[in-house]
């Protein structure tokens, strides 16, 4: 009995896992193309969100604003927004009949990037605000008495909170990378264009190609877990 026959005799899930590992090790072009596109889209969405989320957090944590608690509460509540609901709202905005239909963004990677960016903004804002608020307020006073300007004081607080800010960014990336609703509604799961890991897993499972689904799921999980492990090491060393 050769190896193939032995494998066939095994449980179909184990068989799927073995074939999945073979797909990954052999460098299957489709697997790598989907992974690459997923990484590009989720990194872009997270990075774009950080451009405004971190300054918003700095304002919420370090300035006295009227209604600050309400705004923070709103961002906290939005962390759990269902991705399908968000996908639907953005679909209505970006579709041809919608207010942004003119830009023809639907079913492009840009649409998924925008969607993921909106999705992770509450995560980055809430986590970063908490991280900045946890820094000893005397750090700011110390910087002030050593001659720092307002911006330099904000920068030193941000620096002291960097482990928390990094956690916010990684949590946001993980959420973007693992979500399905936005990617399927705005991207449409078009092969070689908008097919990302989560949409591909859903499709392949539906089509019965369990080994490809498992291969993609393994990649998804390993990236998310590797990032979490790196983050915990980084936090410990800082």
């Amino acid at each position: 009995m050769d190896l193939r026959e032995e494998v066939a005799a095994l449980d179909p899930i184990i068989q799927g896992i073995i074939q999945a590992i073979e797909l990954i090790i052999s460098g299957d072009p489709e697997v790598y193309r989907i992974t690459e596109l997923s990484l590009i889209i989720s990194i872009s969405g997270t990075a774009l969100s950080c451009i405004w989320s971190i300054p918003i957090s700095a304002v919420l944590a370090l300035r006295n604003l009227p209604g600050k608690r309400v705004i923070k509460g709103l961002f906290n509540a939005l962390i759990g927004i269902p991705t399908v609901a968000l996908g639907l709202y953005l679909y209505l905005l970006l579709s041809r009949a919608g207010p942004f239909g003119y830009f023809h963004l639907m079913y492009t990677p840009s649409a998924i990037i925008i969607g993921q960016c909106v999705l992770v903004t509450p995560i980055v804002v809430s986590f970063t605000t908490s991280a900045l608020e946890s820094v000893d307020p005397e750090v700011r006073t110390l910087a002030k008495t050593l001659g720092a300007s307002g911006m330099q004081m904000d920068a030193v607080v941000l620096r002291e909170a960097r482990a928390g800010v990094l956690l916010a960014i990684v949590a946001a990336f993980n959420r973007a990378f693992a979500e399905l609703g936005v990617a399927i509604m705005l991207g449409g799961n078009i092969r070689d264009l908008t097919r990302v890991l989560t949409t591909a897993i859903a499709l392949q499972t539906e089509m019965g190609d369990i080994s490809l689904s498992i291969a993609l799921a393994l990649i998804l999980l390993s990236i998310v877990m590797t990032l979490s492990i790196i983050l915990s090491f980084a936090r410990r060393s800082s």
């Binding site: 000893d136 006073t141 910087a143 002030k144 008495t145 001659g147 002291e160």
Partner: protein, 237 residues
Amino acid sequence: MISRLETLNVSKRYDHLQALDNVNIGVLSGRIVSIVGVNGAGKTTLLKILAGLDTMNEGKILVDGREASQEELRACSTMVFQKSIMFSGSVYDNVAYGLRVQHVQSGKLRERVLSALRIVNLENFEKRKANKLSSGEQQRVAIARALVIERDVLLIDEPTANLDPTNATIIEQGIKEAANSRILLLSTHNLSQARRLSERIVHLHKGCIIEENDTSSFFANPRDERTKFFLDGELNF
């Protein structure tokens, strides 16, 4: 260089608490003045106001006879806090912070940082993580961090509270060295330290100055009854 710092009728209230009440003191460059008093007397509040880190409700602060704004006070002074806060990073990064925000060029910056570290006997500590140091060593870093920016007014709040004698001695030596060319105000409830370091002593009690005298007279012939009680270690006066 600033040669005189004065407060004129400085008062500060926190809700229903009168933290400072008509405080008038004058300090000359090159002379250490100690502010003594029990906890809650208003020593830290006074130093924070002089450092431009807190506002006052009434009164003026004069620098060389001219009224100074909060920004002007911040520009000419620096304060060392009782609880030494360290920025994350190395001892060198901590001491260099005040120079970096002023964009001092790197060669000069290094020279000044190493010289400040020498004053507090931390020559070989530059690469150590500041947060990993003992509290005494951290307080020495805090003194070096304040000295390196060469401000005319140095305000030090309880520099050796809860420190061992070795660290306390090193810090006192650093303070003496720093006082040569500066206005130096020291808040302490360590009376023997005030006696060792300062030329004048101000006794602050419940936000009011109840005695100001040169050091020898303060200890030998206190004028106020409450100062006598304070020197005798009485708790209720």
